[in-house]
């Protein structure tokens, strides 16, 4: 009962954010790009709920619109990392012969703190939206591969898999029809966490100035621009950060809730590791 309510709440928050940011252009009182030099760095007021930035732009409008990029990056990375990670995990867990090689490669990827790997890749590829998605996908798919592999190993020894094999089902059919549906719950849980971590990581990259084009507002790049005004315009640093916290918190709540819902007896052993 309790868990369900958490899930519903998390879903509501997320839907609200997604809806707000997609429809932003129709309802925002100010355009996020509207420069008003007369109103630079003004404190939150009835007109400008979150104050204005160093260009006199409305921080509320920019925070709402910034969610588009942050959510898109997080969502696409979660999707790609899930697809790649699940495929590798299934193959690795099912075919013991390639397992050794694949897992050594995955271990290699896991030997980097995720943010560091993403940072190095963006440094090499150059900072653009597509490259950030590539870099973050490469940083997060190994975790997914690991999770799927160990789930596959567990499921593989179940008697119904053996039964399916003896009736002549091909490896492909066994993997897609029998194994995959049974490992779906950890995949969904994990991809929710990757979604959350990717949002944090994108913010970190943009904050470090290696992210997207500086004129695209993302929560991270707003925080970076806000940094020199920290003492004279703290609101400029605070609200984009709150955007991140609320979104990521909702995703983590959802992931937590889903995990408990899928496996109510599981002892919560695995702590979420933060994107380093």
């Amino acid at each position: 009962m309790f868990q369900k309510k958490t899930n519903v709440l998390a879903l509501c928050i997320l839907s609200l954010i997604v809806l707000a940011t997609i429809t932003a252009q129709w309802w925002l009182p100010f355009s996020p790009t509207n420069i008003d030099p007369e109103k630079r760095l003004t404190a939150p007021s009835f007109d400008h709920w979150f104050g204005t930035d160093d260009f006199g732009r409305d921080v509320f409008a920019r925070t709402v619109v910034a969610a588009q990029v942050s959510l898109a990056v997080g969502g696409i990375v979660a999707l790609f990392a899930t697809v790649i990670g699940t495929t590798i995990g299934l193959v690795s867990g099912y075919f013991r012969k390639v397992d050794f090689i694949l897992m050594r490669v995955i271990d290699g990827f896991l030997a980097f703190p995720a943010l560091l790997l993403a940072l190095a890749l963006v440094a090499a590829l150059g900072g653009s939206l597509i490259n950030i998605i590539i870099a973050l996908t490469l940083a997060f798919f190994p975790v997914m591969a690991r999770v799927v592999r160990s789930a596959t190993l567990q499921v593989k020894n179940e008697s119904y898999i053996e039964a399916a094999r003896t009736t002549g089902a091909s490896h492909f059919v066994v993997i897609t029809r029998y194994i995959f549906p049974n490992i779906l719950s950890p995949v969904i849980v994990q991809s929710t966490f990757i979604f959350a971590k990717a949002i944090l990581a994108e913010a970190a990259l943009s904050f470090l100035g290696v992210g997207v084009d500086p004129s695209t507002p993302t929560w991270g790049s707003m925080l970076q621009e806000a940094q020199i005004y920290l003492t004279i315009a703290p609101w400029y640093s605070i609200f984009p950060g709150l955007g991140i916290v609320i979104t990521v918190l909702a995703l983590n709540l959802l992931g937590d809730g889903l995990r408990d819902a899928f496996d109510p007896h599981q002892v919560k052993r695995k702590p979420r590791t933060k994107v380093a």
């Binding site: 703190p113 190095a120 904050f207 290696v210 991140i244």
Partner: protein
């Protein structure tokens, strides 16, 4: 035991091999000619040809890789294009602040997490437990750099208790060192505190219900003593497994925290080098951090099997 140790040691080799392939690829992923990128666009064709020759860029990729690898194994990480200093030298001179920062935040981490976990378990039937769960969830949802910004606002600006940036080496006095490092170390630690404390709490809660705990309590030993002596001691072992992940968290976190607090460590070196397109340094630092991480994980694993011989590899 010995056999396991040897096997675990050997397992580092393939991992490091894959790591070095990835690090090697960093330069070769860059669109365009690496020599051109390193030297800048306004360079004479001859200088570019010379560097290509020097870097062996005309050889097939796998030969380039093995040449590079053999240099790396002998401890030669190349030379910075920007500062013209040896990469190893740069890493060495920048590692001390990073080491200071990480050690201090590790200490803070344990000092905060352990008593917190014990307190939570002792007061598990009160409102404190759900508060703790919520806070630890909030903890992993806050970007560390934003938390740092808030703390700087709070303790550097509103109540100017700590300096908001800078670094003083330990040789200039313990006080000054601590004064500058406490805030960044705290930010770095706080994110991991939630994870460690939660891990400890979960393991402790598990062993609270074990027979030996009940027996001890039945013998009339005070609950506090039982918690610390038995429950906590037993919970420590599984907790060591996440220490590796914690070190990774700290290593990754230093990159941002050093930049934010202008601490001249390897994290800042990395970010500066990325902005300068100084690829030999980027490669060197990334390789160095990955190597430390692999090493720490190895030590943690060995420690773990040593502490709890029931656990075996694979």
């Amino acid at each position: 035991m010995l056999q396991y140790t040897i096997r675990r040691l050997l397992s580092v080799i393939p991992v490091m091999f894959v790591v070095s392939v990835i690090v090697f690829m960093i330069v070769h992923l860059t669109p365009g000619n690496p020599a051109l990128i390193i030297l800048g666009e306004d360079t004479s064709p001859k200088a570019i040809a010379d560097l290509e020759e020097q870097l062996g860029l005309n050889d097939p990729l796998y030969i380039q890789f093995f040449n590079w690898l053999s240099q790396v194994i002998t401890g030669d990480l190349g030379t910075s294009v920007y500062s013209e200093r040896k990469v190893t030298e740069l890493i060495f001179s920048n590692f001390r602040p990073t080491f200071s920062l990480m050690s201090l935040s590790m200490i803070l981490l344990l000092v905060i997490a352990i008593p917190a976990a014990i307190a939570i378990v002792a007061l598990r039937k009160t409102v404190l437990d759900p508060i703790f769960t919520s806070v630890s969830l909030l903890g992993v949802s806050i970007p560390d750099f934003w938390l740092a910004i808030l703390l700087v606002l709070g303790f550097g600006v509103a109540l100017p208790v700590f300096p908001v940036a800078g670094y003083v080496p330990l040789t200039e006095g313990m006080g000054a060192w601590l004064y500058h490092l406490l805030l960044p170390a705290f930010v770095l630690a706080i994110v991991e505190v939630g994870i460690i404390a939660r891990m400890l709490r979960d393991s402790m809660l598990e062993s609270v219900n074990q027979d030996y705990t009940k027996t001890a309590l039945a013998k009339g030993i005070k609950e506090r003593e039982v918690l610390v002596r038995h429950v906590f001691a037993n919970a420590l072992i599984p907790t060591t497994t996440v220490l590796g992940a914690t070190v990774a968290g700290l290593l990754g976190g230093t990159v941002i925290i050093e930049t934010l607090f202008t601490i001249p460590g390897i994290g800042q070196l990395l970010i500066d080098s990325i902005h300068r397109r100084d690829y030999p340094v980027v490669q060197g630092v990334v390789l160095f951090i990955a190597a430390i991480y692999v090493l720490v994980n190895l030590l943690v694993d060995l420690l773990y099997t040593f502490l709890d011989p029931r656990i075996r590899y694979d």
